[in-house]
Symmetry: C2
Subunit: 210 residues, 2 copies
Amino acid sequence: MLSNVQTSKTIKSTKEKILEAALELISRYGYKGASVRKIAKAVGVRESAIYNHFKNKDEIFQEILKSLFSSDFSDFFEKKPIEENAKKGKKFLMEYAATVKLATFDPKHEKLFKIVLLELMQNKEVREQFLNYFYDNNIKKLSHVLFLMMQEGLIRQSDPMLMAREFFAPLFYLRLEVTLLRVDEKSTVTLSTMFEKHVEFFWESVAVRA
Amino acid sequence: MLSNVQTSKTIKSTKEKILEAALELISRYGYKGASVRKIAKAVGVRESAIYNHFKNKDEIFQEILKSLFSSDFSDFFEKKPIEENAKKGKKFLMEYAATVKLATFDPKHEKLFKIVLLELMQNKEVREQFLNYFYDNNIKKLSHVLFLMMQEGLIRQSDPMLMAREFFAPLFYLRLEVTLLRVDEKSTVTLSTMFEKHVEFFWESVAVRA
DNA sequence: CGGTTGCATGAACAGACGTTAATATAACCG
DNA sequence: CGGTTATATTAACGTCTGTTCATGCAACCG
């Protein structure tokens, strides 16, 4: 038993190192640019050792892809019943924006986001997961909340789907801009306050005045 | 003279073919994925012939980059004095959205847009041109028009810069989605109507009711 | 006509790539 | 202790990469 634990610990340790190094390098140089040799060097091992842990380079990438859309923020909507969220009105939208902001500046999520951008055009799987994720898990669920807010009389009547996109898109664009600036280590102070400003503006745009 | 014209015609012809092929291949496979041999093959020539027209691969890419942000749509704001645009109110925003829509579906601009997305994370020059272009040439100028609209009493008072971003971001996100769907030759009919819907929604959000 | 120039070819280079095979070195199990 | 198993190394493979060079051909100029 002990031996088994230790063995699998050793495996996990190197395997994890490989995944970490791959995440780092792929998020910087893209899938093609992150060569097996570079990854091996970052781990501190020869390239052939990689193949004791992964069948090939693609398997490493697939492993990373799995963590792409199964991260902490995917279950944002599952924390509380959706009806409860709807009643909170603007406060809910603020929380949502705060979550996006958090992901934007969180190192792990930033890397994953970069990989998405890097491989979006090249990798069909990434593309489909991207569209699915952002559509189903964000816009669709957002539109549900907005629909309920309309029924509560909190916001004006409109197409919930359209409204969800209008709320989501500026957050996405903001995230993109911040990520780009951070690549060149430029300041993002101006942009970082815009997550909240966006919610304010949006709420002014849709709120039904009492 | 005649000889000179013919010579430069021949040069231009092959050089143009190279640029066309490079644009096509780079927009599909990215800079790294579009090898000199692939480009040469697409032109119908051996790879060494490429070097009669370009110093190296990077020079080809630079040539394409030049056309990136100097395309027809850059001078959208220069067609008419900005004050005139402001007075048109919603109609101006419709025209702007129509221009983005046009660029989204135009093959040449679609390829350039793909290249931007592909190289955004890898190429500092693309990154800076992207931020400059979208910031200066779109958001900044949009905010100017919106500011004038506020003064005209057409739209409500707010931060023009913020408002410009709110108007621009959904168009950008829309363009991204459409481009992604078209890569896999999926239908974009639902999305293509959203350019106008966005303007409608935005106008409802900011217009001062008479 | 003879020479220069423009543009193509074929062959080769050095390096990077993903991957594999033979081998070594431990640590574990019975 | 002896054998198995996990993990590392070294070396090599075939292929692709960007680029160069010597060469050939054809069109132009004086």
